[in-house]
């Protein structure tokens, strides 16, 4: 549960407070039973899901019990169809994210280095950024049909702004003292970017990537659902229109699992990349 998104990471937060008398407080209280409680939560959730249709609170036609859905998922997992769909989804997600990342970083650093030029772009950025990328769906259909490029158009448009804005924040956050120190030691422009600007920007960049990774999945699935490009989204649309209710649920669970994996992956990446950074070192694993 670490979705902190106050512009540019949680850096400004006061240092992790030393507990009373300088000792870590409550370490023993929250320690061992946390995974246990979490497991209890999952079991309770599944139990309720199982019970509600059995008790007839909701018709099984609309909410198949957990066991049925998980069985359907297991059955689908043995066929290549599901894995091909997952692969297609991941390709759209990864490729779109990568393109947005490269473009946003290059442009972000260029604009950070050229504040005069940047002044001319602000109004345009402020206008384009809040445009919902789904507004591009009709255009994507017209231009690319159900091709992968449709998915990419949506994903790249949405992710680019998220990352680009974070890079701009990061470049603007460079500590003038650090910059001057680097200058006084005769570091050249490239060396300054490498040793001063880049490390400052990195936490912001990672925040942008974390947000963009989740949004990219949303839009990749959306494109498949609405436009019909191949992937899990399309499978869900097909299952829904053929009335295969437990399949719809099974596929939703599959996308949820995919989402969890992506979130965990990005968090691990963030931790690795920012190992040296206080916001990571100080952060409690929650």
């Amino acid at each position: 549960m670490t979705e902190t998104t106050t512009q540019g990471t949680a850096r400004e937060r006061p240092e992790a407070p030393a507990g009373a008398g300088g000792r870590p407080r409550g370490a023993a209280r929250t320690g061992p039973n946390k995974p246990l409680l979490g497991a209890v939560g999952i079991v309770a959730f599944l139990g309720m899901w199982e019970a509600v249709p059995h008790l007839g609170l909701v018709s099984e036609r609309f909410l198949p019990p957990a066991s049925t859905v998980l069985a359907a998922l297991a059955q689908r997992a043995t066929t290549p169809g599901l894995w091909i769909a997952v692969g297609d989804t991941l390709i759209g997600w990864g490729l779109g994210l990568a393109i947005a990342f490269v473009a946003a970083v290059l442009l972000g650093f260029a604009m950070g280095a050229l504040p005069r030029v940047r002044a001319f772009t602000n109004s345009t950025v402020d206008f384009l950024r809040p445009i919902p990328s789904v507004a591009l769906i009709p255009l994507a259909i017209l231009l690319y049909g159900t091709d992968l490029r449709s998915t990419l158009l949506l994903v790249v448009y949405a992710c680019f702004w998220l990352i680009y804005i974070q890079v701009l924040y990061g470049v603007a956050d460079v500590d003038p003292v650090a910059e001057q120190t680097a200058r006084s030691y005769g570091l050249g422009r490239l060396a300054r970017i490498r040793y001063v600007v880049w490390p400052t920007t990195l936490p912001y960049l990672m925040t942008g990537v974390r947000l963009a990774a989740a949004v990219a999945l949303i839009l990749a699935i959306t494109a498949q659902l609405i436009i019909g490009s191949p992937g899990i989204g399309q499978e869900i649309a097909v299952a829904q229109s053929s009335g295969a209710v437990s399949s719809v649920y099974a596929l939703i669970v599959a996308t949820g699992a995919l989402g969890v994996l992506i979130n965990i992956g990005v968090r691990v990446l963030e931790r690795r990349v920012l190992r040296w950074h206080t916001s990571v070192r100080g952060e409690a694993t929650a």
Binding site: M1, E3, T4, T5, T6, A10, E12, R13, P14, P17, G26, T30, N33, K34, L37, G38, G41, I42, F62, L63, A119, F120, N122, S123, T124, F127, P130, I131, P132, S133, V134, A135, L136, I137, P138, L139, I141, L142, L143, L211, L217, I218, T222, L225, I226, I232, G233, I236, A237, Q240, V245, V248, Y249, L251, I252, T255, G256, A257, V260, N263
Partner: protein, 275 residues
């Protein structure tokens, strides 16, 4: 002589301020003008059916949205957006405070929430159609089911981050119960809550459009897809432009609200930076 010197001294000052204002206008308008010009030029010189000239789009825009369609398609969409967003905010902040204040409750719900929030909200559209049909409540539910998460998670983070010294101070001065919630918890979590709301707003617009595109007979998303299917290209563009304008307008509105709510926070950050 003296009067001359004063006019002389105001002269350059005035021109400087005029020049500064001019630069500002230039900053604001140059690139948009260039881009529109470029589009106009390329659309006029290309025979692509999909790229109507700006004047065609503008004409379609006026014709479409300055008619009763505005009340049939646009207003209901916006109303669903408002209801969905408000419900998400209430639900997200409420649950977030509960989870943020109690370590145990948080530990209990965390894995389940982690899973639920990882589900990309658009996949819930087919599900909601199954469960509640294709009426307004489906669309609102879709919006809520997607928007609740960023608000909830940010509220949890914000509530957890309440400064322990400040919390102790409040206890010492007998500030408890609802006052504590109002004066201490919600206010100190408000930067994170606002960040969550901002993410949620962007998501709400996306979900509003998707829910209407997937299965609907009215609404802005439905209209745009309808134009595309019937190859009413200028109208389709006009719909896209309107969507863009709604996104922009809502973000400006939000920015304004945020400025009111978080004025103190911006000042505080600036003060910390200065030191």
């Amino acid at each position: 002589m003296s009067s001359q010197s004063t006019t002389l001294s105001t002269g350059p000052g005035a021109t400087a301020s005029v020049r500064r204002a001019g630069t500002k206008v230039l900053h604001l308008l140059l690139l948009p003008a260039l881009l529109i010009g470029l589009y106009a030029y390329s659309s006029a010189n290309s025979d692509s059916y999909y790229m109507p000239t700006p004047d065609l789009i503008a004409a379609a825009f006026v014709e479409l949205w300055f008619s009763e369609r505005f009340f049939v398609d646009v207003l209901p969409s916006l109303a669903r957006l408002a209801v969905g967003f408000t419900l998400s905010a209430v639900l997200g902040v409420g649950l977030g405070v509960v989870l943020g204040l109690s370590t145990r409750v948080r530990a209990l719900f965390e894995p389940v929430l982690e899973f639920l929030r990882a589900i990309p909200p658009p996949v819930l559209v087919p599900l909601m159609i199954l469960l509640v049909g294709i009426d307004d409540s489906m669309k609102v539910l879709v919006i809520v089911s997607g928007c609740v998460w960023p608000i909830l998670l940010n509220t949890v983070e914000g509530v957890r981050a309440v400064d322990p010294v400040l919390a102790d101070t409040a206890r010492c001065y007998g500030i408890n119960g609802t006052t504590r919630l109002r004066v201490l918890v919600l206010r100190s979590a408000s930067p994170q809550i606002m960040a969550g709301l901002r993410l949620a707003l962007a998501l709400a617009i996306i979900l509003m459009v998707i829910s209407e595109m997937f299965a609907s007979s009215s609404g802005l998303g439905f209209a745009v897809v309808q134009f595309q299917r019937s190859f009413a290209i200028p109208e389709m563009w006009a719909g896209m432009v309107l969507l863009g304008m709604i996104g922009f307008a809502l973000s400006v509105l939000f920015e304004f609200a945020e400025g009111r709510v978080l004025g103190w926070y911006r000042g505080l950050r600036a003060a910390n930076r200065g030191e």
